[in-house]
Structures are given as structure tokens and as C-alpha cells.
């Protein structure tokens, strides 16, 4: 993969890619792993460099803060949530959560927050000491869970860093009104004022438009990749998607993200059109609800071994969204306020899953009932009942925790998964 959009010599497929037209089971990860790692390395190296030499302001932001505004202002964005997931994947989250607990912060609270606070107190991050610069700005939004407000308020007071709290309306059915849009745009403008007030950066709408266009291009390619999962077999599963989301989340509005997704989309399309995407081990097509247990990604091997592939989830598209309105603020409204994956209620999700079941030929659904994420987990019981009783599909709901291995019984989860796979093998629910 190349970073040059016009590079005719780019290594489509690379060394690991099979010859065109030759059926192969070479996993797609062989194609994307190296360039993806390069993007991540580059991001984290630049982030770490800012710890020593603050050449640009650093903002810590919550999920769904419009990152394009920060990129347009020349602010380096850092998502503690994504980073906490990395800590969990690297097996250090549990210790960090414990550090937060010793500071009086309950273990019942979302591990994204407690892991982050544990890092601040201990100085230990995903790769050891340091690597993450303290913020110049903190920006939280009410677009997703309420804990963001309390968590970032805690950070603001502990680190003595200014906090902007971006408010957002809420319509569980997605029927946003004109007043909602007007209010949300007022929040975007206040965010820009906040950035200008607390940094030496001045804001350019032209630059914002440029960043939005790049973010939109990445979204187009990402949507193509997501929709390719309708194919049987699916060229990629949720485990791939959880890795592949990094540029979509962290590098939105950057040219390297566009190049990455363009190359990946072309490779996916090539595999499909050349017949390389031949049926293999895919026996069952499933939907995964939200984020995975980051501390136990090996869990996926159980599904893989049984030929159970997650061909869709509610997570992958949460960070994408077209940004093609001539008015840049309306574009941001479209991506963030109208986001179909967050800011929506149970009824809306039920309708969505019904359509997904048809489009993606689903056999079943898996929900991790995540006690540390009440925002996304409450409502799963009704969703599961609907899928099982009305859609006649197999459903698994298991107890878990996206960050904390102590809130998770691997043995029990494994047993439940095996039972679920056994039921899947017996056909319809």
C-alpha cells in the first residue's frame, strides 16, 4: 500500500497477495497488517514526540468529538478510550484499573476511564513509561454516554486543564428536528471558540472543508469495505474490522487514511471480482453487537474454528458518516448528530437489525452484556428477545467486560459460546 494517491506502482496485494484470479484463502489481514501497523506506529511516535517537544497543542477527546475540527485547527487529537483498548489488548489494563481503584474510583465504572486514570497516576501506559503527552485541552461530548462528562471533569480538575463540554440533543428514534440541528451547530461554534481561546491556533473554515473532504473520502472507501461484508463468504469479519477502524477513528481527515482505505477497498473488490473470495470455512454468519472484550481477543478463535464469522456489527460504522454537505457544519451534523450507530434507541436498533439480517444473510447474533457499559448494554435483553422470537435467529447473550478481565469468566463464556455454536449447527432458532 502506498501513501501516494496517484502512485501507479503501489504494491496492491503486496508479497502476501495471491495472483489475480487464483482462488486463495490468504487472509485479508496479510494485506493490511503491515500498512496498518505503519500508520499506528507513525501516530504514536508523533504523539510521544509531543510529550518532549510540544510543537502543537494536544487535545484529549472522547468518542464522537468531531475530530475533523481538531485536525483543521492543527490540534493533535488523542482518544483515551481507544488507547485504553490498546492497553487491554496488551494486557496492562487490569493493573491500571487497580491503580484507579486505589484512588477511590469504583471498579464498576467503565474501564476506559479507570484505565486512563490509572495511567495518569502510575505513569504507565500501553508500552511502558510515558508515550502519551498530557493534554492542553480536554473535550467531551454528550453524544454518547454520560460518563464522559464526569470522567473529563475529573481529568480537568486533576490536571488543571480547560475542559469543553459539547452538548448534544437526543432523539432515540433518530428523528432530529431543526431546533436540534441549530443547537448542535451552536455547540460546534462554541468548540471552535474554545480552541481559539485556549491555544495559539486560528481557525479556517477553508481548512475545515478540506479536512472534511478527506474524511468523507475515507468514509466512502470504508463504506465500500463494510458493504463488501454482505458477500458470501464475507471477505472480512469483525475481528478485522476492530483493527481496521484505527485510521477511521484517529486519522479522520488525514490523507493517509484515505490512501489506506482506498487500497484496502480495491483489494477487497479485486478479491471478490476475481473469484478469490471463495467459500471456505464460513458456515455461519453472525452479527456482533458492540465492542469486544479487548483483553481477550483470542475469544474470536472459538468462533473462527467453528466457521462462525461476524459479518456485521453495530460498532464498525459508528465512526464513519458522509461529510458532503456544502455547509461544513451541516456535514458534521450529518456524521455525528445523525450517526446511526450511536444516539439511537432500542426501537431504532431493532429495525436496523431486521434489515441487516436480510442484507447480510445472518444466522444469529451475539451480545456481550457489558456491565461496565450500561449505555450500550441496557436494551440488549429486548433486542435479543426480538431477534430470537420475531426473527427466528439464534442469539447468544453472555456477561462480559470490555476492559477488565476481573469482570469476566472465560470458562463460562466459552461454555456458552460452544452451546450457542451447537444450536447454530442445528439450524434456525
Amino acid at each position: 500500500m502506498s501513501n501516494d494517491k496517484t502512485d501507479k506502482n503501489r504494491t496492491d496485494g503486496g508479497e502476501d497477495s495471491p495472483a489475480v484470479g487464483k482462488p486463495s484463502q490468504v487472509p485479508l489481514s496479510k494485506f493490511y497488517r503491515e500498512p496498518l501497523n505503519a500508520l499506528m506506529d507513525d501516530y504514536y511516535k508523533k504523539l510521544a514526540a509531543l510529550e518532549k517537544d510540544r510543537t502543537q497543542p494536544v487535545a484529549w477527546i472522547t468518542t464522537m468529538v468531531p475530530i475533523e475540527i481538531l485536525n483543521a485547527a492543527g490540534i493533535y487529537p488523542f482518544y483515551p478510550e481507544n488507547y485504553a483498548a490498546l492497553c487491554a489488548a496488551r494486557g496492562v489494563a487490569s493493573d491500571l484499573i487497580h491503580v484507579a481503584e486505589t484512588k477511590g474510583i469504583s471498579r464498576d465504572i467503565c474501564g476506559y476511564a479507570t484505565c486512563n486514570i490509572g495511567s495518569i497516576y502510575s505513569g504507565q501506559w500501553a508500552f511502558g513509561k510515558g508515550g502519551v503527552p498530557m493534554p492542553d485541552l480536554l473535550i467531551a461530548t454528550r453524544l454518547t454516554c454520560n460518563l464522559h462528562l464526569t470522567w473529563f471533569t475529573y481529568l480537568s480538575r486533576h490536571l488543571n486543564v480547560p475542559l469543553f463540554f459539547m452538548d448534544a440533543p437526543y432523539r432515540p428514534g433518530g428523528a432530529y428536528e431543526e431546533r436540534d440541528v441549530k443547537y448542535f451547530i451552536s455547540q460546534l461554534k462554541r468548540l471552535i471558540e474554545f480552541i481559539e481561546e485556549h491555544t495559539d491556533r486560528s481557525f479556517s473554515i477553508d481548512k475545515l472543508q478540506e479536512v472534511l473532504e478527506l474524511s468523507d473520502q475515507a468514509t466512502i472507501y470504508w463504506s465500500e469495505i463494510s458493504l463488501s461484508r454482505k458477500e458470501t463468504p464475507s471477505p472480512l469479519g469483525s475481528k478485522d474490522v476492530f483493527s481496521l477502524m484505527f485510521p477511521m477513528v484517529t486519522l479522520a481527515g488525514k490523507p493517509e487514511a484515505v490512501t489506506f482505505y482506498r487500497d484496502l477497498s480495491e483489494e477487497v473488490n479485486r478479491r471478490i471480482s476475481s473469484g478469490e473470495n471463495v467459500p471456505g470455512k464460513e458456515k455461519y454468519r453472525l452479527i456482533w453487537d458492540l465492542f469486544p472484550p479487548w483483553h481477550d481477543m483470542k475469544l474470536w478463535n472459538i468462533f473462527d474454528d467453528a466457521g462462525a464469522v461476524f459479518v456485521i456489527d453495530f460498532y464498525a460504522d459508528a465512526f464513519s458518516g458522509r461529510l458532503n454537505d456544502p455547509d461544513p457544519f451541516q456535514s458534521i451534523v450529518g456524521k455525528y448528530l445523525f450517526n446511526p450507530s450511536v444516539q439511537r434507541g432500542i426501537d431504532d436498533k431493532r429495525k436496523k437489525i431486521e434489515n441487516l439480517a436480510k442484507d447480510f444473510h445472518l444466522d444469529g447474533a451475539v451480545f456481550m452484556s457489558n456491565k461496565a457499559c450500561r449505555y450500550m448494554s441496557i436494551g440488549q435483553m429486548d433486542m435479543a428477545a426480538y431477534i430470537r422470537d420475531r426473527m427466528n435467529l439464534r442469539v447468544l447473550v453472555f456477561d462480559g467486560d470490555h476492559m477488565d478481565p476481573n469482570g469476566y469468566s472465560r470458562e463460562n463464556v466459552e461454555r456458552q459460546i460452544h452451546s450457542f455454536l451447537e444450536l447454530l449447527s442445528q439450524g434456525e432458532g
Binding site: 484512588k103 477511590g104 474510583i105 469504583s106 464498576d108 465504572i109 467503565c110 476511564a113 454528550r142 454516554c145 454520560n146 460518563l147 462528562l149 464526569t150 470522567w151 471533569t153 475529573y154 480538575r157 463540554f165 452538548d167 448534544a168 440533543p169 437526543y170 432523539r171 432515540p172 428536528e177 431546533r179 436540534d180 441549530k182 443547537y183 451552536s186 455547540q187 462554541r190 434507541g345 432500542i346 426501537d347 452484556s369 456491565k371 450500561r374 449505555y375 448494554s377 441496557i378 436494551g379 440488549q380 435483553m381 429486548d382 428477545a385
Partner: protein
């Protein structure tokens, strides 16, 4: 418990039997709406001819297990249980607002458990600046139109003004009741007053006002020297079991004000008119300090400190529903602020559906002793 005070008896009867009383009210022709959160402009409902009643917690959540995981707070689960049990069948409508994550889900699950004729979720802003007030006023305008259509009535400014005036009289009287209880001129325990105020929340507001005014008048001008214990303020979430209050007072604490979601948040400060009635309501309810899911910490702590000074407290107890992550998190901040203000503080986690007060009693007793010894 004393039973020779007619007004108190009636209020406590309402607290004990809200469903029985409101089933009768419904039969008598009243249109009743349930509201879940403390930022609902009840004045607007009342102006539409609706009786607004607070949806309260309970001590059983068995039926809710069908819809909600056990890691949801007991308030949410207990209300779903009651809805599924038919206890709230008298409700014509339910109304809630964007507050905590769980309550937003609960609003939707209520729709499955007990589909009412009218459901409305107010998009309550998280701020209270000019943009937020303007937005919330528009939101209230839409609610007003929907209520007018549903109730086939006209909600005039005059009706809203009258409702504001009525609820302000209730707030004023409740404030005076606490004062009178605390200075010993009203022979009432905090547990009795809290029960009475919970009863108020399920009665027609004009009847509630009459009863609390009677209760106020039942006091004596002769000031008894109150056997004053350690002056405590309650803050935090809603709670079902008022025996918690009795227990605190039995171990030597004196609750001088309850500013929790159960009581205080519903009888908060006076609504000062700001222009037209809808602007007044929008300003008041967007600026009202309730749970930790909105407004800046500075504003929220400012309110707590103001209350602490007003009621001259010796210590503060934060009642937190188990699994209320925002409250748990905010408690660490409140703890720091209380330390700085040199106000003894304790946070206790409760579960309305767990029988008995368990280890809470030991912790409270130790806290009261500690505060009393300072």
C-alpha cells in the same frame, strides 16, 4: 410513628399507597401522567389539566429481569417491575428527559412493559447557557402543542403562570417545613417529613399544598429545645426505603435537609419568572441542579455548598444507587471538595431491592460518631 396529625396521616397514606390513590383518581376522571426525572416541567402538565405524579422506586424488581440486566440501578428495575405488574395502569402518559444513560433506556423499555397513550422524551440540554435555554424553550413549545392536542385543551400563559405560582407555594412551604422541623417548632422526625414529601409527589398539587400547609400550621410557636444531633444533609440519588432516614436519626444524626433526587430535587428553589412562562420554565429547569449527568461540576458543587451553608450542616451523606457510574465517579470529586471545605462526607451505595440496611448501618453509625466528635 405519630398518627394524631390528620394532614401527616394523609400524606403518609399517599406515600404508602400511591397506586391505590391514583387508581381512584383515575376512576374519578383525572388524567394522570408519570414522570421519571426531576427536570420535568410539571407546571406545564398541570396547566394542561394533567396530574403529574413521580414514578417512584420500590423494593421488588423481579419482573424487570425480563428486560433489564441486574447491573442497572435498582430504581430503574423497580419501576419496570411495577409497570409490568400493572401497578401503573392508571397512567395515561409518561414523560422523561435526557438525563442518565439508564433512564434514557428505561423510557424506551417502559414502552414495552407498559405502553401508555402518550410518551414524551424531552431533549433536556446539558448546559444552561443562552443557547441551551433558547433550545429548551423550543423543546417545551413542542411539548405544549402535543399536550394541547392530546388533552384537547388550550394551555394559556395564564394557566402556566397559575401552575408556576402553585408549585412555588409548594416549594416555599416545603422549605419552611424543614426549617420548622429543624428548629423544633414542629414535632416531626425527618423520616416522617420525607414520607410526607414523597406522598406529596403522587397527590394533586393543590391537595398536596393544602396538606403541607396544614402540617406546617400544626406546629407550635413555642420553640421546644430540639434534641439536636449531628446536623446532616443528604444528597445524591433517589431511594425507596425511608427506614434509611429513621436509621440515621436513630444513631444520632439529624437530617436537616434532604437534597436527593427522592425529595429535594423535586422541591428545589423557587422558580423566578423570566419573561414569558415558557422562558421561565426553560430557564428554571435547564439550570436546575439534579444528577451528575449534566451541568458543570463548578455549578453542581456550588449548589451543594450553598445548601451546606444554608442548613448549617455538620456532615454530608451522599446516597448513591449501586451501579450509578456517574454518581460513583462524581463522588470522588465531591469528596475532595468536601475535604477542602472541611465538611465530613460519606458516600453509601444502596440497592432498593436488597432487604435490610446491612453494613450501611455500621458505616453510618461510625460516621455520625466521627462527625459528632469533631
Amino acid at each position: 410513628m405519630k398518627t394524631n396529625n390528620t394532614a401527616l396521616d394523609k400524606l403518609i397514606a399517599a406515600y404508602k399507597n400511591p397506586h391505590l390513590i391514583n387508581t381512584e383518581n383515575r376512576t374519578a376522571g383525572l388524567r394522570i401522567f408519570g414522570y421519571m426525572t426531576e427536570n420535568i416541567p410539571v407546571e406545564l402538565l398541570y396547566a394542561a389539566g394533567i396530574l403529574p405524579v413521580r414514578i417512584q422506586s420500590g423494593n421488588n424488581a423481579d419482573l424487570a429481569a425480563l428486560h433489564v440486566q441486574a447491573f442497572s440501578c435498582s430504581y430503574s428495575r423497580a419501576t419496570i417491575h411495577q409497570a409490568m405488574n400493572g401497578d401503573y395502569d392508571y397512567l395515561d402518559g409518561i414523560i422523561s428527559s435526557k438525563t442518565c444513560d439508564v433512564m434514557m433506556c428505561m423510557f424506551q423499555i417502559w414502552g414495552y412493559a407498559h405502553p401508555p397513550n402518550f410518551r414524551w422524551l424531552l431533549s433536556l440540554p446539558g448546559n444552561c447557557n443562552a443557547d441551551a435555554i433558547s433550545y429548551f424553550k423550543e423543546e417545551l413549545l413542542h411539548l405544549k402543542s402535543a399536550l394541547e392536542k392530546h388533552c384537547n385543551t388550550d394551555i394559556s400563559d395564564e394557566k402556566i403562570d397559575k401552575a408556576i405560582s402553585l408549585y412555588n407555594r409548594i416549594r416555599h412551604t416545603v422549605n419552611r417545613l424543614w426549617t420548622k422541623k429543624n428548629d423544633g417548632t414542629l414535632n416531626l422526625t425527618a423520616g416522617e417529613l420525607v414520607r410526607a414529601l414523597k406522598g406529596c409527589q403522587v397527590l394533586p398539587p393543590d391537595s398536596a399544598l393544602q396538606l403541607i400547609e396544614e402540617l406546617f400550621d400544626s406546629g407550635t410557636d413555642l420553640k421546644n429545645a430540639p434534641d439536636e444531633g449531628t446536623r446532616l444533609m443528604l444528597i445524591g440519588n433517589t431511594y425507596a426505603d425511608v427506614s434509611l432516614i429513621d436509621m440515621i436519626e436513630n444513631v444520632g444524626g439529624t437530617i436537616v435537609i434532604d437534597d436527593t433526587s427522592s425529595v429535594g430535587h423535586l422541591f428545589g428553589p423557587q422558580l423566578e419568572p423570566k419573561g414569558d412562562p415558557l422562558t421561565s420554565l426553560a430557564t428554571y429547569y435547564s439550570g436546575k441542579v439534579t444528577g451528575p449527568y449534566r451541568l458543570t461540576y463548578e455549578k453542581r458543587w456550588g449548589h451543594i455548598l450553598e445548601m451546606a451553608e444554608k442548613w448549617k450542616i455538620d456532615g454530608c451523606i451522599n446516597i448513591i444507587q449501586k451501579f450509578c457510574d456517574s454518581s460513583l465517579f462524581e463522588s470522588t470529586l465531591i469528596n475532595q471538595s468536601m475535604n477542602n471545605a472541611e465538611i465530613p462526607y460519606i458516600a453509601i451505595e444502596i440497592d432498593d431491592t436488597s432487604p435490610g440496611l446491612g453494613t450501611i448501618e455500621t458505616r453510618i453509625e461510625a460516621f455520625v460518631e466521627m462527625v459528632g466528635g469533631i
